[in-house]
Amino acid sequence: MTHAVKHHPGIPLLEQYIEGTLEADIALAVAAHIDLCPHCQQLCQDLTAEQGLQLELTAPTSSMDSTDFDGMLADILAEAPLEPSATTTKQATHVQVQLKDKTFTVPRALARLVKQQTKWTQLGSIATNKLPAGDKRHVSLLYIDKDTAIPQHTHKGLEITLVLSGQIVDEQGSYGVGDLLINTPDDTHTPRTLPDEDCLCLSVLSAPLQFNKGITRLLNPLQHLFY
């Protein structure tokens, strides 16, 4: 993987991710991006350290606070520390996804969810696999065969796409492995794959896409394939 990641979530989003205040499905896309992006790994380490410092320097609850901290402390000390075997640091483990006799690597953040889901829905050169992560938004793996265009569409909500393999090109530019495309409501674009390379992405959608042109509008009722 020699491609340098060009499109990052940006510090405000990373900050919310680190605080834990970012909505879970968006945070999942950000986490998967970080797994693929050394630059953001470093920034997150820095932002986490700042949060830690803030906790350390925060004013404690006042002395008027009647919380029984002594009781809590005694309860905790009555518990046994975990055995060393239960406290070994985790290794970053990605998983392989099999599709059309091709194997794709999916980053650590998605590994557990992807392992639970093997059912692909196929329409022509596009296939989707919905992950069990949805709240308000739909989270899915999206496979697009080589030399394929997703017809021009407008987003009725937020669309976040993280490229996991291959490349996507749209009116704004080209996106490779690790790049995060964030489209906000009312953005319009026509993403396509390269003539000789298929593409796997993670897609987080908060509302169905709306197809704009001619016969592709017939796709609008078939939304669930993309959503």
Partner: protein, 198 residues
Amino acid sequence: MLPKDETTANVRTGQWEDALGYVAVHQDKAAYSELFRYFAPRLKAFGMKMFGNEQQALEMVQDTMLNVWRKARLFDPSRGCASTWIFTIARNVRFDMLRKKQSRKDDISADDLWYDGNYPELEDSGSHQWDTVLMTEKLAPHFERLPEAQRLVMVKVYLEEKSHQEVSDELAIPLGTVKSRIRLALDRLREALDDTRS
């Protein structure tokens, strides 16, 4: 010498890292009690801000501090401060508490989102290429908007031309914090410049 940043002046570096080390190796109850008495009330304040509810805030404190006791062996001082580690535990506990309340199974969990292991080491990306452009007029307004703590470090390094070590001594913050504040500030400025270009 400039007055020390009063919010950071009273932090003894290394104190909590040492305490966690004693807990990890000897299950040292005295060291743990010291950690508990310092962090539990602060975690409660943090929880009150996040939950706006005392009962949930305390549940978070108890769960977090129990993890600190039981998993102290997982703390690796080479990867950051004790407070950073404790913060991440509290954040994850809070996240999973909120998800559980919405009673979802198979759902996104804190373990999916936040990796608590090592990514491969990175070269410290040089900030030297910024030296020449940094104080141009274009950048000045963005510079003013940096978070206070980062701006202070940037002023000392780039305007007063102090070394990272000098800034660390002056502000009584770890050298790593100086470096990380510079990285964060540079990245914010980079983003601000990208926005003005497009």
